[in-house]
Symmetry: C2
C-alpha cells in the first residue's frame, strides 16, 4: 500500500473509520476526491501538473473495532493556511459518511505563528515559574460597562494576571464592547502601575467578519491589551487574521465555544487534539481555553493529554502556547490539576472567582495559595 | 413547564437528546449556562437587568427514544447576527454532552439578507420558469488560469447560467485566484454579449479573514460577478460580511464543505436543515449547494426536504434562496430530481459536465434536454 511521497512539502492526514466502512475504498475516494475531484480527468498536456496534485495513500489499517487511513496531500494544494487546509482534508469528504479526522502532520510553515506563545506571554506579564491566573467576568450578561469596572476593582489589589469577558458577551446595547474597555482601561492601567507588571483584559471580539476585524483594531488603538475570540464560530481564518495583523499585535485567547459540535461525536468530525490543539496553535492563539477533566464539562483524560501535548509539545519549531483548563475550576482542584498540567498553564475561573461565598478577593487568595502549593 | 416569555424579541432553540440524558436538567443548564453563566449571580441593583437576560424553558418532552427541550432566549443577548447567535445557543453547551440543535425560530431581523435570492438572481440572469444550470471547473486542481479559460470556451455557446471553481481551489501558485478571473473575464463577457443575458462565474474566495475580504473586493473591482465561499470553514460571520458589503454586491454561492463535521453525527452537532438551510439563508447566501439524495453523497430524504424548505419556505419575510443539489449530478437523474425540487433550483454538475464521455457541450445538451422534460 505504501507509495513513495513525491517531492515537495506534504500534509499527512489520518482518518479513523467505524466498523463496516472499508478504509481502503475511503482512502482512494479521499486521495482523488479531495484533490483533482475527478477520476477521469483528461486535460492534454497537463498530465504532470495533474499528477502532482493528487494525494497518495500512505497506509491503510483494519482491525476489529476500527479502520484507519493515512493520506499524504501536497502542501502546494493549499495556501499554507488553515482555511484551505481544512477544505482539502475534510471539506466535501466530511459529508461522505462516518469518518473522523484524528491527526494532521503539517509542514513547518503552515499557519500563522502565535505572536507571544508561552515565552512571550510570560515576558509580557513578568511571571515565571508558576501557572498564570485568569478570571472571567460573571455574571456573563446583564452588567453595564461600569459594572465591569466595579467588578475589576474588587480584584485590583491581587496578583491576578488576566481577566476576560465571558464568551457570550458581544457588542450589546447594555454593555457595548468598546464601552467595556473604556470603562475598565483606567483600572487595568492602575493595576499595572501599582505592581509594575502588565495586567491583561481579553475583550471578546464579535460581529460580522468585517466588523470584527475593525472592532479589534479600534480596541487596540484605544489601548486594549488582549483579545478573546470564539474561534470555532468565527473560523480559524479569523484567528489567523487577528494573530497576523500588525495593527493588533496583542495576545489572542482562543475560546472553545462550539468545539463540541465538531469534536464530541465519537465517529464523526475531528479529534479535540486538532480542534483545540494543533489547529489553534497553528492558527496563532497564545492561550487556548478548553475543558478539564477536573472541571464541570466532560473531558476524557486522553483528550486532555493530547490537547496539552498539541499546544506545548510536538511541533518543535513553532511557539509553544498555553493550555487554559476552564469550566468549573475551583481552588481545591488546582493542586491536582497542576500535577497533570505543570506550571505552563493558565488557570481560568469565572464562577470560582466571582461567585465565591467570601467574595472574589478571598477566592483569588485561595487560588494563589493553591498555585503555590508544592 | 411552560412559562410566559418576557417582552422583547425572542430566539427559540430546540434541542434533541439521546436516551439516558435528562432533558429537564439539560434545559435548566442551557437556560442559565448560556446566558448569565452563573447560578448564584449576585449584583446589587442589577437584578432586573440580570433577570431579563436569562433564558426561559418553554417545553420539555421525554419519550422512549429521545428527549427534547425548547428554550426561549432574549434576542437582545445577541448582536442580531449569526456569530453571537451560535455562541449563545450552542457555544459552550456543545461541549457538555450528547445534544443536537435541531431548530431555531429567529426574529425577523436576525442575520444579513441575501442581496439577490431567487427573484434577484433570476432577474440578473434573465431566466424564468426553469431550473438554473451551473457547472464546476474540473479537474479541481492542476490547471492554469489559462486552462480555465480554455475549459470555459468549450461551453461558451451553450445556455449554461453559471460556472464555479471547485471549492478546493484556492489562491494557488499554479492558478492564482485573480489570474483565474482575469483569464476568464473576456470569455464570461463574450458569453453575456452573445446571448444578451448575464453569465456568472463564482470565483472561490479563500485566505485569512482579512485577506479573503480584500480579495473579494479586488475581484469585484475587476469585474467578477459572483463569489463562492466555503461557509463552514470561514464562518457564517464571513458569509454575512460578504453579503452585506456594498463594495461586493454580487451573488454569493455557499459551498457545504466541512458541513458534515457539524451535521452528520446523529446525536451531536446541528441538523443539516440549520447548517445548510436556515443559517445559510439568514447569513445572506443566494444559492446554497448541498448533497442530493439522487447524487453520490449520502443524504437522507428528510434532511433534503427540510433543507429545501428552510431555503425556500418558512421565513416568509426573508428572501427565498436557491437550493443547489450537488455531487454526482448527471443528466439522467435530473427529471426525477426536478420532481422533488421544482424549478427554483440550481442544478450543479462538475464531473457530469467536464468528464462526460462526449465532452462538455454534449453533456450540457443532455442536461438542458432533461431540464425541458415535463
Amino acid at each position: 500500500m505504501t507509495t513513495p511521497a513525491p517531492a515537495g512539502q506534504r500534509i499527512v492526514a489520518t482518518y479513523r473509520f467505524p466498523p463496516g466502512v472499508d478504509p481502503a475504498r475511503e482512502a482512494e475516494i479521499l486521495a482523488v476526491g479531495q484533490t483533482l475531484g475527478s477520476h477521469d480527468a483528461r486535460f492534454p498536456g497537463r498530465e504532470a501538473a495533474l499528477a502532482a496534485c493528487r494525494a497518495e495513500v500512505l497506509e491503510v489499517q483494519v482491525c476489529e473495532h476500527e479502520g484507519r487511513a493515512r493520506i499524504s496531500f501536497p502542501a502546494a494544494n493549499t495556501e499554507h493556511d488553515l482555511g484551505t487546509l481544512l477544505t482539502m482534508v475534510f471539506g466535501k469528504y466530511s459529508l461522505a459518511g462516518p469518518a473522523r479526522l484524528v491527526d494532521l502532520d503539517l509542514p513547518a510553515d503552515l499557519g500563522t505563528r502565535p505572536r507571544f506563545g508561552i515565552a512571550g506571554l510570560r515576558a509580557r506579564l513578568g511571571v515565571e515559574g508558576r501557572a498564570l491566573m485568569m478570571a472571567i467576568f460573571k455574571p456573563a450578561l446583564g452588567l453595564s460597562a461600569e459594572d465591569h469596572a466595579t467588578l475589576l476593582k474588587t480584584v485590583a489589589d491581587t496578583e491576578l494576571d488576566l481577566i476576560k469577558d465571558d464568551e457570550i458577551l458581544g457588542d450589546l446595547d447594555g454593555a457595548p464592547t468598546l464601552a467595556r474597555w473604556r470603562a475598565c482601561r483606567g483600572v487595568v492601567e492602575a493595576i499595572r502601575d501599582r505592581r509594575g507588571r502588565e495586567f491583561l483584559y481579553a475583550v471578546n471580539v464579535t460581529g460580522r467578519a468585517d466588523t470584527l476585524l475593525a472592532r479589534a483594531r479600534t480596541l487596540v488603538q484605544e489601548g486594549a491589551n488582549a483579545l478573546l475570540l470564539n474561534v470555532l464560530v468565527y473560523g480559524y481564518p479569523m484567528l489567523e487574521a487577528l494573530a497576523a495583523d500588525p495593527a493588533i499585535g496583542v495576545p489572542i485567547i482562543a475560546h472553545p465555544a462550539f468545539a463540541g459540535a465538531l469534536a464530541l461525536a465519537p465517529d464523526h468530525g475531528l479529534d479535540y487534539a486538532l480542534v483545540l490543539g494543533r489547529l489553534m496553535r497553528r492558527g496563532g492563539a497564545d492561550i487556548v481555553l478548553h475543558p478539564a477533566r477536573f472541571g464541570s464539562l466532560p473531558f476524557d483524560a486522553g483528550d486532555e493529554q493530547r490537547v496539552i501535548r498539541a499546544l506545548r509539545g510536538e511541533d518543535h519549531d513553532w511557539p509553544r502556547v498555553f493550555p487554559g483548563p476552564s469550566a468549573g475550576i475551583k481552588p481545591h482542584i488546582v493542586p491536582e490539576l497542576l500535577k497533570d498540567y505543570g506550571p505552563d498553564t493558565v488557570i481560568n475561573a469565572g464562577s470560582g472567582v466571582f461567585d465565591h461565598p467570601e467574595g472574589p478577593r478571598a477566592a483569588l487568595a485561595a487560588f494563589f495559595a493553591a498555585l503555590a502549593s508544592p
